[in-house]
């Protein structure tokens, strides 16, 4: 592997690089004679082992396109993508790449293949040719990891959205990936489903040590990440710790992005003359900061 761009990556204290997008260009071929539409204009991103990275950007910014490059669903029209050192252009490595980086999509209904939960979870390992004797343990472990073990004999269509999405996650875990890319996994769920899925994602990162790339437009979800990357118009706009990135409220607004509610409230309070720090992200932190400000008055 040559020419990995580490200088653009602020979190270089972490482990080895798992996914590396190097100056990636991508264009969609159009059906008629009009020129192809370029959606990515030279993006470089490195994802390190064990990281939790949130990818933000407004609609049409190209964030989903970036995600689809991470396990060779799309191939760049310029530049290179490496997954654990494997070139995504190499056809013979396709299965290995996709079992290293799993992907969970927005609509849980359109990802489940089988008529019974446990058979759906087994779909990935079955494709990989895992011996039947080991399969049972793998499937049970994956279902337990997302808290869906009791539902293993249920039909997917009888589950709630959050439950279906957790089954989809279990289906990916069962392939034992090193990294999972989530493409707006909570966009179609109700608040309770969102909560369930986010808890499952936290657990993956903390207990199973799986690298997580989360594409979302919920800023509160992005605030949980180790690193936030903002993509605008097919280019990398900025990246850094959530507290750093979200402190530039004006810059985010300019690019039609929100900030977490707690950060926004903190900013208003600061503007009104209260002594509140800039790096407030969660409601808990916000509450503590307000308490501290009250006491110091």
């Amino acid at each position: 592997m040559e020419n990995i761009n580490i200088t653009s990556n602020p979190s270089d204290e972490g482990g080895e690089i798992q996914i590396s997008l190097q100056n990636v260009y991508f264009e969609y071929e159009s059906n008629d004679d009009s020129p192809p539409k370029e959606v990515l204009h030279g993006i470089s991103i490195d994802i390190r082992r064990g990281e939790f990275v949130a990818l933000l950007g407004h609609n049409g910014s190209g964030k989903s396109t970036v995600a689809k490059h991470m396990n060779a669903i799309l191939l760049p029209s310029g530049g290179k993508v490496y997954v654990a050192g494997m070139d995504t252009f190499n056809d013979s490595l396709l299965t290995e790449i996709r079992r290293t980086v799993g992907m969970v999509f927005q609509n849980p209904d359109n990802q489940l293949v089988a008529t019974i939960v446990e058979e759906d979870v087994a779909f990935g390992p079955e494709n990989l040719g895992v011996p039947s004797a080991e399969m049972r343990q793998i499937v049970d472990d994956a279902l337990k990891a997302v808290g869906m073990y009791e539902y293993r004999r249920h039909a997917p269509h009888k589950l709630s959205g959050g439950q279906k999405q957790r089954v989809a996650i279990a289906g990916i875990i069962a392939m034992r990936p090193k990294c999972i890319v989530f493409d707006e996994p909570t966009a179609m769920l109700d608040p309770r489903g969102r909560q369930e899925v986010m808890e499952a994602i936290d657990k993956l990162k903390n207990e199973l040590g799986i690298t997580v790339v989360l594409i979302t437009h919920y800023m509160d979800e992005a605030a949980r990440a180790d690193r936030v990357i903002i993509i605008n118009d097919g280019r990398l706009l900025t990246q850094g710790k959530p507290s750093e990135v979200f402190s530039h409220i004006d810059m985010l607004r300019e690019h039609h992005l929100d900030v977490p509610q707690a950060t926004e409230l903190a900013q208003y309070l600061r503007a009104a003359g209260y002594d509140i720090p800039e790096d407030v992200l969660t409601p808990e932190e916000c509450a503590k900061a307000i308490m501290a400000a009250k006491q110091s008055e």
Binding site: N71, I73, T95, R98, R99, G102, M103, F105, N107, D109, N110, Q111, L112, V113, A114, T115, I116, E118, E119, A122, F123, G124, P125, E126, N127, L128, G129, V130, P131, S132, M135, R136, V139, A155, P156, H157, A168, G171, I172, M175
Partner: protein
């Protein structure tokens, strides 16, 4: 609501028939259907009837469920029996009125045909009542495996069946949603003649088709992400295994088949 429809109407249970290997059930069902057509006198048909009645008891499926399955074919049974009764010529006249002559042979013939039809329906509903769609698909895939050598895409067919079964409830739900959405905009789906009602279906079918294509596209991507490359080198979570009860059922069945053939020779055939 329409989403309550369950294909094949699987009724979970723990009976002897439920626990049989689905492959064995398909084999036995086929054998019974073949022998229903081979039984040609009262003794052999009676034995088969007794066997099917025993299987119905063993399945512990309520009798009314079997009658429900028969409802759809009553007309067909009656119609074929009546036709046979009127058209088959024989030697012994039982009944004569103007142009209608009914022979004894015709009575037997139509009776046997009615019994055959009823038994076929009972046997095949027994298979779907006692076997989950997943087991059924797995069994079909395994039983058809030899045809792979002839180039038949057996795995692909089974995969298509599984996906179809998986998406039937989802699409029914979606149809209901679209119908409600169109009704909310003033679409009238219930009144008018056949043509008008068929036309009213267009605004339901088009969105349904578009969303199905989108689903298919999404599902294909998701399957790619899960390393699906076709049937080659795939393993299974649940491996089908023949057990003692399957062997027992097979021996019983073999005995029955031999019995039917033997009993056929003891008395003259009542049906051609």
């Amino acid at each position: 609501m329409i989403s309550d429809i369950t294909i094949g109407q699987f009724m979970p249970g723990k009976s002897f028939i439920h626990k049989l290997d689905p492959r064995m059930k398909i084999i036995l069902m086929t054998a019974v259907i073949v022998f229903v057509f081979l039984a040609k006198n009262l003794m052999s048909m009676g034995t088969l009837l007794g066997f099917v009645a025993l299987a119905m008891l063993l399945s512990r499926i309520p009798l009314r469920m079997y009658f429900k399955g028969l409802k759809a074919i009553w007309f067909l049974v009656f119609f074929t029996a009546a036709l046979n009764m009127l058209y088959i010529k024989g030697e012994h006249v039982v009944f004569q009125y103007k142009a209608i002559t009914i022979y004894e042979e015709a009575l037997w013939q139509s009776g046997f045909i009615a019994v055959r039809l009823v038994m076929i329906v009972i046997i095949s509903s027994m298979l779907t009542y006692t076997t989950s769609p997943t087991d059924l698909t797995a069994a079909i895939e395994r039983l058809l495996a030899p045809f792979k050598l002839l180039g038949m895409p057996v795995h692909e067919l089974a995969m298509m069946m599984t996906i179809a079964l998986r998406f039937i409830p989802t699409l029914l739900e979606e149809t209901e949603k679209i119908m409600n959405a169109q009704k909310a905009r003033g679409a009238d789906l219930e009144s008018g003649g056949v043509i008008r009602r068929a036309k009213a279906l267009i605004p339901i079918l088009i969105p349904l088709f578009i969303s199905s294509f989108r689903r298919a596209f999404d599902l294909a991507t998701a399957m790619d992400c899960r390393c699906y490359t076709g049937g080659k080198g795939r393993t299974r979570l649940n491996v089908l295994k023949y057990r003692f009860r399957d062997v027992l059922a097979f021996i019983l069945m073999a005995g029955l088949c031999a019995g039917v053939i033997y009993l056929n020779t003891l008395a003259p055939a009542l049906i051609r």
